[in-house]
Amino acid sequence: MLTFYIRAVRAESLKLKRSPVWLAFFSLPIISAFFGTMNYTLNIGVLKSEWYSLWSQHTFFLCYLFMPALIGTYCSYLWRLEHTRHNWNSFLTAPLPLSTLYLGKLTQAVRVSVLANLWIFLLFYVCGRLAGIRSPFPREALEWYLCGTLGAVVICCVQLLFSLMIRSFAIPVGIALAGGIFGLYMTNRDYGMNYPYSLYCMGMRANNPNMEIHIPALLVNSAGYILVFAALSIFYLRVHERAAD
């Protein structure tokens, strides 16, 4: 089973070779970090909580509006490779279980989300130092990172399902943008924990680093969403196979 999985991941990596898709994950957090740091330094008289203030400036718009859409774009790209020409035939007749093929795609999406999150944190640290913050880096950042990454995996699963079902490249990206914006509303109404697009922002403590969240609930809800959406995707792939026959 492990050999199958490694083979699927390698195949997906080959498909993505020399594709500049990672550039988006590299450049958008830079814009957000630049803007956040600029805003922080201009309002340093009001924003007194140092790292915590800087964190809210860095992550608010990025986490709510842009990361879901960015992950959506990447997931759309992953499935677009199969949607174009007759690639579905070769994908569905590959000598690997469908669940493994799906896990190969999910792994790529998760990998890029993990790296993007690492990049966000690295930018946060560098910008903090450049902005003149001398206090030690907050210990909670590791928790933010882990919870945020889990939330990103949830978005990956949701978007992979949409991009699998919808042949258009652009519509799932629009759904992700709308999902992110609606996530803002849901978090404001205290329903964030039950809404897949809010889990990422809540995990990252975007806009509110002092927010108390119930971590076991976050873990259970994230795991639930991951299982449900992954199962739906694999089920859809099986149905798709029958349709292709």
Binding site: L65, A170, F182
Partner: protein, 250 residues
């Protein structure tokens, strides 16, 4: 005209209108949520506030919405590899023009829906008096022009690149850049900040009394230049797109 009609035939059953409705629906939900249950004071300034609240939402959403629209219209050709076939029947410039007009008609529909919605919402909330029609008409026309300039930029990218990730990421980047511009000044010479220049209302916040006062904007000379830049971008993007697409190897 035939090319334009063909464009509409190509997108039949592609549910582009439905997609746009869904995305604009998010804007409507945002507007509904943001100013729900206004008090008497807010009702007095309601019509101006409505004009103030639309541009920030457009700055965030419209670059991405326009990238989705342009990508949907261009993708029909990429997926079917139809450029060679189409270019032998019609000049590439005419094909590009038809796509631009087709998108412009969608934008017109979207903009009409947005403004009808905010006017209906204003009356439903019981705002005092009536909207100032001159200002609302100016806001509508400038909003239309901003959307068109962004659409033409996105169409250019979507037609030139087979990989639709590039134009969509450009759209997302544009949304983010617009957001940043919003914090700098209420006007911008960049295409993504056009909605800011087009805003007909401005706000004055008194930190001591914590009272917000909305007023109709009086444009300075620089701001007027920023507004005219929206129309310059339309010409630039359309011309560049038409030339680049005509020269593109199919």
């Amino acid at each position: 005209m035939i090319t334009l009609r063909t464009e509409f035939k190509k997108i039949k059953r592609k549910k582009i209108g439905l997609t746009m409705c869904a995305l604009i629906g998010i804007q409507f939900a945002w507007l509904l949520w943001s100013g729900a249950r206004p008090d008497e004071k807010e009702k007095l300034q309601g019509w101006i506030e409505m004009l103030y609240s639309l541009p920030p939402i457009s700055v965030i959403m419209m670059p991405t919405v326009m990238s989705v629209l342009a990508s949907r219209l261009a993708d029909a050709e990429h997926k079917g590899s139809t450029y060679k076939l189409l270019n032998t029947l019609r000049r590439p410039g005419a094909l590009y023009h038809a796509k631009a007009v087709c998108g412009a008609l969608f934008i017109l529909g979207i903009s009409i829906a947005q403004f009808l919605f905010i006017i209906a919402l204003g009356y439903a909330r019981g705002y005092a008096g009536h909207p100032e029609w001159k200002r609302y008409a100016a806001a509508f026309l400038l909003h239309l022009a901003c959307c068109l300039s962004l659409y033409l930029l996105q169409l250019l990218l979507s037609m030139l690149f087979f990989n639709q990730m590039i134009p969509l990421v450009a759209g997302l980047g544009g949304s983010m850049l617009g957001l940043i511009l919003m914090y700098i000044k209420m006007y911008s010479f960049l295409p993504w900040g056009g909605f800011l220049s087009a805003a007909q209302a401005a706000m004055d916040w008194n930190p001591e009394t914590r009272v917000i006062h909305f007023f109709y904007r009086q444009y300075s000379r620089v701001e007027l230049c920023a507004v005219s830049m929206i129309f310059i971008w339309i010409v630039v993007f359309y011309t560049a797109g038409r030339i680049l697409f005509s020269r593109k190897e199919c």
